[in-house]
């Protein structure tokens, strides 16, 4: 792999850009791998990268039904933050945030991580009490989070309407300055390039159709649209389709898959300096480097794999955006899409072993998986390599729904879905 640098850009500028090589190879599958990862999104590709980099396991294939990052990695609003309430959540999201901070250098790929700040608007007494609780919990845990008065919030985001007559009055805000955004495609591509460079096979357009098991019940490989591929270990990280894949090994998960929508506006000059989320009226917004407003809406109420979602959901979000930021009322929306999120009953992720030997699962990231990408991938690689969870992910096991040790982030999420 040729390193990307300012010198490489200068060299290629002289040569008419004819020397850039493919970022990753697309090999034919081998007969057998040590590890097969199902799902070529950020979590799966990242896990492959960390398996190769930190655990020396390079006989790895990432199998993807469509194209890299074409699922939820490319369908989210790219918000990164770690201001969760419970220790288990703070552990993993803060671990992730720390990895985000050095990810571009680590991968030699500009993932455009931008710690521009994530602000959560408080509209009522309940919000204020809930956010204060979060702020105190975070600060005790060494995670930055601070309370802003309405005027301080407006100083940070000048286009915010804090007037007393506003439809959704603002009585303060919580701000995590280290939170921000990153470029979603670059995360998938950067991990794929770095993993491929270390010998990982990235196999696209290859659908997993079955999981084959040996006489002792352990997995032996996957049936795919490119034939049978053997594997000593199988790790599933297929976001909305985790239930579908795991059902092939007769494992039932506590998940339901629902569409979550987002949309972007026409591009504009830089106007919006950070990420703003509003829990109570359900809207979140940031501006991409291209200038588009990136707006996230809510989930639909029913199970669906349709990748679309109902119009009333985004209408509701845009109503709220227009009230909070009156100057955006005449902005045109350009594109809208849905991603299929896999949600757990306690709204915390599951990462751990399954009842089937050598079958691992990374699922249930629900509506918040993008921010967890590096941390989740890093800890998932540890789980696959060692066969037991890293201590930072020890609480995310699948059996917590039997033992009752739930991580009840549902009531504590930034936006209620």
């Amino acid at each position: 792999m040729r390193k990307y640098s300012v010198f490489a850009v200068a060299r290629e500028a002289m040569r008419g850009h004819k020397g850039w090589e493919a970022q990753w190879t697309s090999p034919e599958p081998r007969k057998e791998y040590d590890v097969i990862i199902v799902g070529g999104g950020g979590h799966g590709l990242g896990a492959a990268y960390y398996l190769a980099k930190e655990h020396g396991i390079t006989n790895v294939a990432v199998i993807e039904k469509g194209w890299l990052g074409g699922g939820n990695t490319g369908r989210n609003t790219t918000i990164i933050r770690s201001n969760y309430l419970y220790d288990e959540s703070m552990d993993i999201y803060e671990h992730s945030l720390k990895l985000w901070e050095g990810l571009s250098q680590d991968l030699n790929y500009n993932v455009m991580y931008s710690p521009r700040g994530v602000m959560m608007l408080s509209h009522n007494v309940h919000d204020k009490q809930s956010f204060s609780r979060h702020i105190h919990a975070n600060r005790l845990y060494g995670i930055d989070n601070e309370w802003l008065t309405p005027q301080q919030a407006k100083d940070f985001v000048p286009v915010l309407d804090i007037s007393a007559s506003a439809r959704y009055p603002i009585n303060g805000a919580a701000l995590q300055r280290r939170g921000g955004t990153a470029r979603h495609d670059a995360v998938a591509w950067g991990y794929a390039r770095a993993a491929s460079d270390r010998g990982v096979h990235v196999i696209q357009n290859c659908e997993v159709k079955g999981i084959r098991r040996g006489p002792d019940g352990a997995v032996t490989g996957v049936e795919t649209s490119k034939g049978f591929i053997g594997a000593k270990k199988i790790a599933v990280s297929a976001s909305g389709h985790n239930s579908v894949i795991l059902s092939m090994a007769d494992v039932k998960l506590p998940l339901h898959s629902v569409p979550l929508q987002a949309l972007v506006s026409e591009p504009m000059k830089p106007i919006f300096p950070c990420v703003v989320m509003s829990n109570s009226v359900h809207a979140y917004i940031s501006q991409s480097d291209k200038g588009e407003l990136v707006i996230g809406a809510g989930t639909d109420q029913y199970n669906s794999y349709s990748q679309t979602g109902g119009l009333q959901i985004i209408t509701h979000t845009l109503d709220a955006i227009c009230e909070l930021f009156p100057m955006f009322r005449r902005v045109k929306m350009m594109r809208q899409w849905g991603g299929i999120t896999d949600n757990t009953p306690d709204r915390s992720a599951i990462q751990g072993v399954t009842p089937v030997k050598n079958l691992f699962v990374n699922c249930g990231w629900g509506t918040g998986g993008f921010k967890a990408t590096p941390g989740s991938a890093h800890l998932f690689a540890h789980l696959i390599a060692k066969g037991e969870p890293h201590k930072l992910a020890a609480g995310l096991t699948l059996d917590r729904f039997r033992t009752g040790r739930l991580i009840d982030e549902a009531a504590a999420a930034a936006v209620a879905h």
Partner: protein
Amino acid sequence: MLLIYCPYCEEERSELEFRHGGDAHIARPTNIADVTDEAFEEYFFLRDNPKGLIFERWRHIHGCGRFFNAARDTVSDKFYLTYKAGEPKPVIPGVSPATEKTVETYEATEGTAK
């Protein structure tokens, strides 16, 4: 937005009038305090989450207020049919195998209440 046929009101109404109620035909164990952790997990948390045919509950919360069941495709979001609470799980021709035994829920007892 979905258009949903309420089997009690006997007309199609917009999704805004309805609240989704999770999977249908899940029977609560009558001896809930005595069941094993595994059985409770199975009843309370584990779901098929199917890609394709799903049987689910809906409540016409801004209408008649009644719970009813629906058979729907989770890829196209198309409803095959809706039916009253307490009625057995229907067979969808060409889609669902007629193998599973029908599970009656507590709603069966209030199926005809007005």
